[in-house]
């Protein structure tokens, strides 16, 4: 049985990952008005691209070669960038053309996209689990008195903090970020000021995908990388968004931590039905508190 | 005479904003009451709270003396409180006839008939046809409303409210976006209706409001600043203060 501290730390780790994924999803919903059901698959892509980059084994529909593998931290930057590239293509080809159609169609579209990406992942990398090996210095456990905890997990928490810091800088200090925030609230005003709304939308979608990719890569060294890893993450990130309330940053943080802890607890105590508890929480919130736990969001 | 709708110290807040502030008014049967005021005065919010689309943060709403403050929208509609929206809210994918028909069906009954055919509800269908006729929409009756001209769509909006057999009809800017000819048509219709039921009209068209209303209620920043017959209101200083500088209300100021 895991100790209490372990559960708390695990909860933080899970919460951190959920936070990044959920924010990505939130950004896409806020600016592209799309509930991106393929988000989990993009998260998985982050892990798979990471695997390919780190191990150097490229197996891409015919291309089959090895290139020695990249430094872990280099891959940490490249893998999400690649996912962002995929996101860019998706936005231009699929999302933007669907902008004027009722939301239900785009919802079904991203649902199909999810299967497409999952299928491509399975076809390319196969069903067998893959692993990303973290750098040497992070492979050892960290000792605090009697208690030990994997170093990588601590590093992940640091990574999450860095990502959030970068994100806040982007949204508050850069032109693009400020435009994004304004466009989320008052698009007409923003476009009247001469800002290229289309560029903002593309940027938002790509940013959201990059977030998913980062999370996927960070999780790579923690668990075996499997084609269905996106599914559970998708559901969990929806739960986080629903609980936190769409559009509420503070809400998402609270919710991510909450869901992270619940899942860590459930995994330690009732392994089999861990996810059921998460689903039930989501259902309850959806029905009884549609504005999220802090009441700041807006769910339509 | 007992008011058909009355509100008592009605309040509605959104976060920190007070949209309705201690609004108390009485609406009487067979009377045309117009609610006017600058943008943001709370006119639509008032309609929303009276019809049940929004809840009240304080105060009460009464229908024929009965407190209905917590009643659901559909329950109020069943009682006879019907409305139109500022932005058309109709059944886009259905025909004009079907739009009206569903309202008459709900009013006259029959929704529980699971295996009957719609054509078997004779009274419902006849009633729908007569309303379509009254609105002069016969030519487009079987066309999908999404293909209609905006003015006709507005008529359908009014038609749906009519089909609910209202005792109180609340119209939120019905003439918005209409041509003068269409406006006259609607105005005539509204006046006719005011002889049969209580009509509450929210409008920006000053001339229209002055011409057809029995009484005016003026809202400003969520509160009532004046109430009375049109002539009185046009002479009212508070009202003029509220609209100082507003060209739309210039005619109002000129009648001094």
């Amino acid at each position: 049985m895991a100790s209490v501290i372990q559960i708390i730390l695990n909860g933080l780790v899970l919460g951190g990952v959920f936070l990044i994924v959920a924010i990505g999803l939130n950004i896409i919903y806020g600016l592209n008005r799309v509930m991106n059901l393929a988000h989990g698959s993009l998260y998985a892509l982050g892990a798979y691209f990471g695997y390919t980059l780190v191990t150097g084994k490229v197996l891409l529909f015919g291309l089959d070669f090895e290139f020695g593998g990249l430094n872990f931290f280099l891959a940490l930057i490249l893998a999400p960038a690649l996912v962002g590239l995929v996101g860019w293509v998706l936005e231009r080809v699929l999302i933007e053309p669907m902008r004027d159609r009722p939301m239900i169609y785009t919802l079904i579209l991203t649902y199909g996209l999810m299967f497409l990406i999952d299928g491509l992942i399975k076809a390319n990398w196969g069903d067998t689990p893959h692993y990303i090996i973290p750098p040497e210095f992070l492979q050892k456990p960290v000792y605090i008195g009697d208690f030990s905890y994997p170093a990588y997990r601590f590093a992940l928490l640091v990574g999450v903090a860095v990502v959030m810091g970068l994100l806040m800088t982007l949204l508050n200090r850069t032109r693009m970020g400020i435009n994004m925030r304004a466009a989320a609230d008052i698009p007409e005003m923003v476009s009247a000021l001469g800002v290229n709304l289309k560029a903002v939308r593309v940027g938002a979608f790509v940013l959201g995908c990059v977030m998913a990719g980062i999370a996927g890569f960070l999780v790579g060294p923690l668990y075996p990388i499997l084609p269905i890893m996106g599914h559970d993450m998708l559901i969990s990130s929806f739960v986080v968004i629903v609980i936190g309330g769409l559009g509420s940053l503070r809400g998402v943080i609270v919710a991510a931590l909450l869901v992270g802890f619940v899942q860590a607890l459930a995994e330690a105590v009732i392994t089999n039905f861990a996810m059921v508890i998460v689903y039930m929480l989501m259902a309850v919130i959806l029905v009884f508190k549609p504005y999220g736990i802090l009441g700041e969001g807006k769910f339509e | 005479m007992e008011p058909i709708i009355s509100t008592k110290d009605l309040m509605r807040t959104f976060g920190g904003v007070t949209a309705l502030n201690l609004v108390s008014l009485d609406i009487y049967d067979k009377q045309l009451r117009s609610i006017i005021g600058p943008n943001g005065a709370g006119k639509t919010t008032l309609i929303n709270v009276i019809t049940g689309k929004l809840g009240a943060s304080g105060g009460e709403v009464f229908y024929r003396g009965q407190p209905i403050t917590n009643y659901s929208v559909h329950k109020r509609v069943r009682m006879g409180i019907c409305r139109t929206f500022q932005i058309n809210s109709i059944f886009m994918g259905l025909t004009v006839y079907e739009n009206i028909r569903i309202a008459t069906q709900l009013h006259l009954g029959g929704s529980g008939r699971v295996f009957a055919r719609r054509t078997s509800l004779k009274k419902v269908n006849q009633e729908a046809e007569s309303i379509v006729d009254r609105l002069n929409l016969n030519e487009v009756a079987y066309q999908s409303v999404e293909n209609l001209a905006y003015g006709d769509q507005r008529l359908v909006e009014v038609g749906i409210a009519l089909a609910c057999d209202p005792k109180v009809l609340l119209l939120d800017e019905p003439t918005a976006g209409m041509s003068p000819k269409e406006t006259r048509h609607i105005a005539r219709l509204i006046q006719e209706l005011a002889k049969e039921v209580a009509v509450v009209l929210v409008e920006h068209d000053v001339e229209l409001v002055m011409t057809i209303s029995d009484r005016l209620t003026v809202l400003h920043q969520g509160g009532i600043i004046a109430e009375g017959p049109p002539q009185e209101i046009s002479n009212n200083c508070d009202v003029k203060d509220a609209y100082l500088g507003s060209t739309k209300w210039a005619p109002l100021l000129e009648t001094d």
Binding site: M282 | K53, V77, V114
Partner: protein, 352 residues
């Protein structure tokens, strides 16, 4: 002026059914074709395939009632097929291996018992939230079916439960065959694929006719109003929640019916059938065939299942094709095949 469907004299049959002569004739033709089918298709594998088409057609049609007529999207409507199949199967194994009709009743009732409170919760929301809730509950059902292997047999389905020594073990270790009895007459047995086919065909045709009547009834008009504009629907006096629940229950009931038929056909049910992926397949069938047409989903089921059979060599990477087809449909053919046909049939004066 009289309502359009009352106009023009017509045969007694047409006036009774209220259907356009072309569609009534088409319907009769198709049913006749389906009746004759087993005489032409003698390979039991394909007889099974066509029976599956009918069953999934029924499931897809039930989703159409929910989506095409009431306007509510469900990502995992197959859950309710699964629930009924499990209930019917467990009933047959543990309680009564004799009565087919009882098993059918138990399956449908069980599904409704679950669907009612879940639906009650779900109709408090709409649109996206509703769809997400169906996913949440669907995954809950799936997880239970998968993890509660003592009762459900886990991964391999009821077959495994049987192996683990539950009371009535039948031949071949599957759910027992059942006699198809109508009163004192024995019409057949589920061991014969042709008998099963006709049983399914009969039930599906009756279900279709009843559902068709329902969506064209005053109740159907209410559901359509909710689909078109929920807010306005409440503003004409419709208790939107109550009627959404009615639409939901009808859809789940029909799905449950399909589930019991599935049990008679396959004599096993595994959690796979209740997974999100299969839920997407059903949605695809509705899209492919055409939302809101009621018959379109059958066409969609047929095309989908036959296509899957043809491309069986590619089944390994099936997700890719499902994904591509869904994307294609949403982008270019949102109204499905039925949409194509109604576009062709529409007279010029009605076009925009």
């Amino acid at each position: 002026m009289s309502n359009r469907t009352n106009q023009a004299p017509g045969s007694l049959l047409r006036r009774w059914s209220g259907a356009h002569p072309l569609s009534l004739g088409g319907f009769v033709l198709v049913v006749a074709g389906m009746v004759v089918l087993p005489l032409v298709v003698t390979n039991p594998f394909y007889q099974n395939l066509w029976t599956r088409i009918l069953i999934f057609g029924l499931l897809a049609m039930s989703l159409d009632v929910l989506l095409g007529f009431t306007g509510l999207l469900s990502f995992m409507h197959n859950s309710y097929l699964g629930l009924a199949a499990y209930a019917a199967g467990l009933f047959t194994i543990n309680v009564n291996p004799e009565s087919l009709w009882l098993a059918m009743l138990v399956g449908v009732v069980f599904t409704m018992i679950i669907a009612w409170p879940v639906g009650w919760l779900q109709v408090r929301t709409g649109g996206l939230a509703f769809a997400l809730l169906t996913m949440a509950f669907g995954m809950m059902y799936y997880t239970v079916a998968w993890k509660w292997h003592d009762v459900t047999g886990g991964d391999d389905g009821l077959v495994a439960a049987i192996e683990h020594g539950l009371p009535k073990v039948a031949e071949e270790g599957m759910v027992p065959y059942l006699d198809i009895n109508l009163g004192p007459w024995n019409l057949g047995n589920t061991s014969d694929p042709v008998h099963v086919y006709y049983l399914v065909l009969f039930i599906v045709v009756v279900a279709f006719i009843l559902t068709h009547r329902m969506v064209n009834s005053p109740l159907g008009a209410v559901l359509e109003a909710i689909r078109e504009n929920e807010e306005r629907a409440s503003f004409v006096g419709i208790n939107v929640r109550r009627f959404k629940l009615i639409g939901w229950l009808v859809a789940c009931g029909l799905a449950g019916l399909a589930g019991t038929l599935w049990m008679f056909l396959e004599r096993n049910i595994a959690p796979d059938t209740m997974h999100a992926f299969e839920g997407a397949e059903v949605l695809m069938m509705v899209l492919l065939g055409g939302m809101g047409s009621l018959w379109g989903p059958f066409l969609g089921a047929g095309i989908f299942i036959l296509l899957k059979d043809c491309l069986s060599s590619a089944t390994e990477h099936w997700e890719i094709y499902v994904g591509l087809v869904v994307i294609f449909l949403v982008l270019f053919l949102p109204k499905g095949v039925a949409g194509l046909s109604s576009m062709l049939r529409r007279k010029p004066s009605e076009n925009k």
